[in-house]
């Protein structure tokens, strides 16, 4: 009797060489100094972080560099309960969009040092950096965000960024 095969593994692997370009390179160098650098759109005044060198709405170069805070507001979040291979963090964990103070676009990060059921929209958080000697030009310089003792931000303050 011929066996009926139930499933097969079909792994997909793509190896990229990523070239960040000038704007993102400045952002990554900023992370190596413990700073978060964005760029301002000259047409709208909005600050984009990480910067891509051009305004996504107007297409013009974003040449003015702006340092934003490492504190911000949770706009949306997701509790992840499904494990994934090659991921250092174990579920359940919280992934969030965080609107950094001074930025006009949310930033993706993990939230820790907080019970999952307490994570909420409007919660104020701050980046937890790796030790100074481990700072490097990579997103991994920010380990995660944790809650800070500040009143929740009003919905109106971030409703444009959902």
């Amino acid at each position: 009797m011929t066996e009926i095969v139930k499933s097969i593994t079909t792994p997909i692997r793509l190896e990229y060489v990523y070239r960040p370009g000038r704007a993102t390179a400045r952002f990554l160098r900023g992370l190596a100094q413990g700073r978060i650098l964005g760029q301002r759109c000259p047409a709208t005044g909005k600050v984009y972080v990480p910067p891509r060198g051009a305004s996504p709405t107007h297409g013009v170069p974003t040449e003015e560099e702006v340092e934003v805070s490492d504190k911000g507001t949770v706009t949306t979040f997701c509790i992840v309960r499904i494990p994934s291979e090659n991921l250092s963090v174990k579920p359940p964990y919280a992934a969030a969009h965080i609107l950094l103070d001074g930025a006009d676009i949310p930033f993706f990060a993990l939230i820790q040092e907080c019970p999952l059921e307490e994570i909420r929209m409007g919660m104020r958080v701050q980046a937890v950096w790796v030790p100074k000697e481990e700072l490097a030009p990579t997103f991994e310089s920010i380990r995660y965000f944790r809650p800070i003792d500040e009143p929740d931000a009003k919905f109106e303050s971030y409703q444009e960024h959902l």
Binding site: T2, E3, I4, V5, K6, S7, I8, T9, T10, P11, I12, R13, L14, E15, Y16, V17, Y18, R19, P20, A25, L28, R29, A32, E85, N86, P137, T138
Partner: protein, 146 residues
């Protein structure tokens, strides 16, 4: 600090269920046979489908087809990538197996593109250790080399 480039790897370790028809096809490969299915109109589909692509009707019995057939089209790969099935230059080819009415995508180990020709006959070389997947056929080889 120079920031010219960074290595980045995107990897998904998919496992997919194959269903009763492809499952039987892979099971037959494990036993060293190539099987297709016969549609109501009598056509033999290799690789098999669960439904007749022309009418949408369920397919009928499994049919063993030949291990050899004819190349209907091909493309030469001069520089194989690490995940390609062969570590030397080869051809991707559609192989119309003896007894089948459709063609199977696989590789032909021909050594050089000069040995490839549409209409050439090729024969499957099976692996000794088979697990029930398409790479149980290591490759197809030109018949004249045998």
């Amino acid at each position: 600090m120079e920031l010219r480039e960074a290595q980045h790897v995107l990897e998904y370790p998919y496992r997919r269920s194959v269903g009763p028809v492809m499952g039987r096809f892979f099971g037959a490969l494990k036993e060293g046979r190539i099987e297709g299915v016969r549609t109501k109109s009598g056509r033999v589909l290799v690789p098999p489908h669960e439904y007749d692509p022309e009418t949408g009707e369920a397919v009928g019995d499994f049919v063993e087809v030949g291990r050899a057939g004819v190349v209907t089209t091909w493309a030469w790969v001069a520089k194989p990538r690490p995940k390609h099935p062969l570590d030397r230059p080869f051809a991707w080819a559609l192989v119309h197996l003896d007894g089948a009415d459709t063609a199977l995508l696989h590789v032909v180990d021909a050594g050089s593109p000069e040995r490839m020709k549409t209409g050439m006959r090729v024969r499957a070389r099976f692996r000794d250790e088979r697990v029930g997947e398409i790479h149980d056929i290591a490759c197809f080889e030109p018949e004249e080399s045998r």
